[in-house]
Subunit: 396 residues, 2 copies
């Protein structure tokens, strides 16, 4: 439960503390670091020397003198390292080189079509190797976000249905192959980490991110840390049965939340609209003989198609009914919706918030703020990079 | 976010660490404490001297010699202090003197009928004073569990509908009046703390306690600590709308979980059974002209009344549908049901677990274990005492 910090832990803690302080300031002097952290001048000085030697921190000039010698100002060197962030999304694997500030230097997507098993694993190697080849700075590590259940401590993919992976020791495989630190977590979970570290949020310590794309999941940040639950499954809301005799879900069950609000579900519902109504605006966007894409739905939504607007609102209401439980349990006020469905913004979020407000105690719902993520398609990549920053540098 | 520990924090931390070590061992030597905690011999020795002086720890004899002088064994003095634990339950205020081990020395209940506002506050004073008068050891502090929303940091009752309290600074009032440390939290939340500290559970770091009595609420322990959310409302599940056009709830809304599974709801449903079926076994237990009590329902349940059994099973299924969300969000495997409804044990829990297993991914539901609390009516009192132990001694 409680343990005394060993000398090494304590050193890592102090170094992280100092690095975080420099990272969060625009620029700062050694004296101000000591004042902020309550560490001794000599600990600060020694650690800063180490950080400068590692290239993570640089002296950038002089600050205002308070009478005596003007203080030297320090800054984190944002481009000192690159991190490989990977999103094992269904349909395509996405990767990027990310700097210490969450800026993307290089972006590579590999379509994997319906590949799974060992074939899919080969695509991971290809993606990593392309990114390694493109690197312009030392690589700090590899972070991976993947749909499914990931054992983040052992580095094992417990199940990833789309990829047909079971108990795959992906972290060991990559570590041995590339001799780099590797971290993995569920894609919705790392999305929450991405919002917490690089998002537009108010940096509240607690944060809920609901990711709605082909699948539906959520990630929970408590006290600036990713909360994963007893067995890494926290936030796994996509396959909760929300309708007794609902539609068949790809998980084999019926009436899962995914069958109601995922992009697949919306495309299917829009297809039914299209078939039922010869006057639907959707016909203007969908090429005959092709299935409705989410882009088609969005175009019709933007053109003001009332049936499509209602369809999105209905998904929002379903989301709100689920949020009633999630928010009542967690009492987290900052909620961010990410994933491809987040393009509908208020069309989805307002109905959700309205249902939420009607469905729980005013005291619980009152302060909830919902917003769409601004991190776009790169949210999982950034969260995966965040895993590496957190573990390797202790950056919160 | 991260802060360097001050000398005082660090001293409290070390003292708590040592006290926890002694508390969790049957008996232990100073040398073994140093080995377990990685603290220096002299820190252990100084701190133990302090704890002995305070009467919290005693030398109880000699252990096995490992060659040299046999080591002196230490033990926590369970009765060194008493804690006042208070449960501001609806209908009656309950209090007790509790020792350091969660054993109840003295128990006092005060019926408060329908009293509220200042009158109810007077009853709190009466209860505290009766317990102070009964104390046989120095009082360490007062812990309070109350239904409603409690600001545990400021010590303010934000809302307690039954008592008609709003923004009542109860902790300040009691601290000034009795010059003792006082702590407060929601009753379901402290119930989770009680289970975590004194319950029969396997001491897993994460724990969910669902308390079903006249009201319905839950408490969440994460990593041995009470999780209260952004605004102390975490676990407030009783007033989630679970039925679109459901019954009127005392909160003013319709179809809340409370209207389906609380003891009030069950009594009401049993009353309807009674009225509808002249052959119901319930007639044997309910005196004509009186309303059905939960004891009546339990008696009929034990006698095997099929309609009553079904009614309890239906409540269990409703509970299971809510648990599907809660467990998917938290991924906590240890679930304990407390409160007066927990007497139905498997009759309530098995249908809940069955629905839960059918309603979420097998990976999430597979390891969930549900049990009825063994702490009975005293669970809130014990949890309230636990608040004091945690804050005053750092006992986890």
């Amino acid at each position: 439960m409680m343990k005394k910090a060993t000398r090494e832990q304590s050193k890592f803690h102090n170094k992280s503390l100092i690095l975080n302080t420099i990272y969060n300031a625009k620029h700062i002097s050694r004296a101000d670091i000591a004042r902020t952290t309550h560490l001794t001048r000599s600990t600060v000085s020694d650690t800063v020397s180490e950080l400068i030697e590692e290239g993570l921190v640089a002296e950038i000039g002089y600050g205002q003198s308070a009478g005596g010698k003007p203080p030297v100002l320090l800054q984190v060197v944002d481009d000192a390292r690159q991190i490989i962030g990977i999103d094992l999304a269904s349909g395509e694997f996405r990767g990027a080189l990310v700097n210490l500030r969450g800026e993307i230097n290089e972006r590579i997507n590999i379509p994997i079509d319906e590949k799974s098993g060992d074939m899919a694993l080969e695509f991971v190697y290809v993606l990593v190797e392309k990114l390694l080849a493109a690197a312009t700075q030392p690589i700090m590590g590899i972070g991976i976000g993947a749909p499914g259940l990931m054992d983040s401590d052992e580095g094992v993919v417990l199940t990833a249905v789309n990829l047909d992976w079971q108990d795959l020791p992906l972290v060991d495989l990559l570590q041995e192959r590339y001799d780099l630190p590797v971290y993995i977590a569920n894609d919705s979970q790392v999305s929450a980490l991405a919002e917490s570290k690089f998002g537009a949020g108010d940096k509240s310590p607690n944060l809920l991110v609901v990711k709605i794309s082909r699948g539906v999941g959520s990630g929970i940040v408590i006290d600036h840390q990713l909360y994963q639950g007893d067995k890494y499954g926290a936030g796994e809301i996509g396959h909760i049965k929300v309708e007794e005799d609902g539609e068949l879900c790809r998980c084999g069950n019926y009436g899962c939340l995914e069958t109601k609000i995922s992009s697949r579900a919306i495309r299917k519902q829009a297809g039914q609209l299209l078939a039922a109504d010869p006057d639907s605006i959707l016909h203007e966007y969908v090429s005959p003989g092709t299935s409705v894409s989410l882009e088609n739905v969005y175009a019709a939504y933007q053109a003001g198609d009332p049936a499509v607007t209602e369809l999105i609102a209905a998904a929002g209401q379903d989301l709100g009914r689920s949020l009633a439980f999630i928010i009542s349990v967690l009492n987290i006020n900052q909620v961010i919706v990410a994933g491809s469905m987040s393009v509908f913004e208020d069309g989805l979020l307002n109905p959700a918030l309205e249902v939420l407000r009607k469905s729980v105690l005013p005291n619980i719902a009152y302060d909830v703020q919902m917003g769409a993520s601004v991190l776009g398609e790169e949210i999982v990549i950034l969260g995966a990079a965040g895993l590496v920053l957190q573990h390797e540098l202790g950056l919160l």
